[in-house]
């Protein structure tokens, strides 16, 4: 019975791991490559800076906050989204950069 439970947990973990996906959001010309994206809980967004200037991606959405901090040109950062909800992502330096992330189960 104990072995069966352990196997079930392991299977769930593998399933979750296999179903989680990475999505790349490029920062170029002081814009995100898209203005909105729908992802699933457990997915990650990879923010790449293809611009000539520093960016500072963050979310101030209550309960879903994160901050990459300063990201130099050529940099890449992975952000996991582990909670359901709508996350408003911005660059603190360049307010024209706006991205809405809808995180679904």
């Amino acid at each position: 019975m104990k072995n069966l439970q352990a196997a079930s947990v392991l299977a769930l973990m593998i399933t979750a791991s296999l179903s989680a996906a990475d999505h790349t959001i490029e920062q170029k010309d002081r814009k995100f490559s898209q203005s909105q994206i729908e992802i699933h809980v457990g997915d990650k967004l990879i923010f790449t800076n293809s611009d000539e200037v520093t960016h500072n991606v963050y979310s101030a959405t209550p309960g879903l906050e994160f901050e990459i901090k300063r990201q130099a040109p050529g940099g890449s950062s992975s952000v996991p989204f582990n909670k359901e909800g709508t996350v408003e992502v911005r660059c603190s330096i360049h307010p024209s950069m706006k991205l809405t992330v809808k995180v679904q189960k």
Binding site: D29, E52, N56, R70, P73, S92, I93, P95
Partner: protein, 364 residues
């Protein structure tokens, strides 16, 4: 050209980017500077590189207005009247135009603004020319739209010192305003929203006129000097100015700690991120040669001293200092050429007629 024609709602966004990675970019910039300045470079390559760069600074053809406050002449007229009306202040003596004075390029020509009771304010009054393209407003970005911004100085105790309640009472008591509001916003009340919308509409119509630089961008090679042209290349290359002063208005609308020595937190007061401490909005550079003071705190007194400031990499090293601010090691000739380029951005200020303010009509 009338920028307002067919422009009740239109968004034009210009950004610039000619570098994708730091190291290749340095090489590209070096090549660009070389090809633009070398007398033995290929004329075809030289022309193509210059034209690519110039294309990033082309003026837009329409003014953007928001969908919920589209342009009409009646709204512009109402906004212009409110903008010049000193009765929108606690003292009855300060209008929006007192600080955003058209005779001073829509700022006040002072290092720091003067508010209610002749008290000096903490920051320099920014020009409001080209605000139609703004993203966030005030030096610290605390207003998300021009409509949000419009009433801020009126209700500020330090600036115009009139509560919004008293503002409404005052405007509603001036009978001559009623028909102006009815024409501008038919069926709407005279309330905070319509007053803010009208002022914002008027402000959006204030757009820089064509400068010698614009004529050069359009193809008139004689419009600016060869020195100014070299300054333009430095502006986009070695001097790194375009990393923040980008696009046709010469601003990224962004927020940066440039290393001034005051302790004002700026954007950091509202956005509690390390990079936003002491960060202020990038001002546009058009007509900057006419300004009397520079930076958010008016701490620099000439364009030449501003260039020296950036050449030194700012005055204050601290964790929030923008990585874009670094010592530049500019030669005196390069500084002079940058200055010539900045002067080529000077043009006539947008002209408006001063309104006759509506009366209370006490005899009615």
């Amino acid at each position: 050209m009338d920028l307002r024609r067919n422009a009740s709602r239109h968004v034009v966004i210009f950004t610039m980017n000619f570098r994708t990675h730091t190291v290749p970019a340095a090489i590209c910039l070096g090549m660009l500077c070389y090809t633009l300045s070398a007398s033995d470079g290929s004329p075809e390559i030289e022309k193509r590189n210059t034209n690519d760069l110039k294309a990033k600074y082309r003026r837009p053809v329409t003014i953007p207005f928001p969908a919920d406050n589209s342009f009409t002449k009646d709204r512009e007229e109402l906004g212009r009247t409110l903008f010049f009306d000193p009765r929108l202040s606690g003292s009855g003596a300060i209008s929006c135009a007192s600080c955003h004075n058209p005779a001073f390029g829509w700022d006040d020509g002072l290092a720091k603004g003067i508010g209610h009771g002749s008290k000096q304010l903490a920051r320099r009054t920014p020009s409001i020319v080209n605000v139609a393209w703004g993203e966030l407003f005030f030096w610290d970005g605390r207003a998300e739209s021009l409509e949000d911004q419009a009433l801020g100085p009126i209700k500020s105790e330090n600036e115009m010192n009139l509560s919004l309640e008293k503002m409404l009472k005052t405007v509603r008591s001036i009978q001559g305003y009623a028909p102006l509001f009815e024409r501008a916003y038919p069926g709407s009340l005279i309330d905070e929203q319509t007053i803010a919308k009208a002022i914002a509409t008027f402000e959006r119509t204030l757009v820089s006129t064509e400068s010698p630089f614009d004529r050069w961008v359009k193809g008139d090679e004689a419009a600016i000097s060869e020195s100014a042209k070299r300054g333009f290349v430095a502006f986009n290359g070695k001097a790194r100015c375009a990393e923040c002063h980008s696009g046709w208005e010469f601003t990224d609308h962004g927020f940066h700690d440039i290393g001034t020595s005051d302790d004002d937190l700026g954007r950091g007061k509202f956005l509690k991120l390390d990079s936003m401490q002491h960060a202020f909005k990038t001002p546009g550079l058009r007509n900057s040669a006419r300004r009397a003071a520079f930076m958010h705190d008016g701490s620099e007194t000439s364009l030449k001293s501003v260039i020296d400031f950036y050449d030194n990499g700012g005055m204050c090293l601290r964790p929030s200092l923008s990585p874009e601010i670094q010592p530049l090691h500019l030669a005196e000739t390069e500084k002079s050429e940058l200055l010539q380029f900045l002067r080529s951005l000077t043009s006539a200020e947008p002209k408006v007629s001063i309104p006759s303010l509506p009366g209370r009509d006490f005899d009615r």
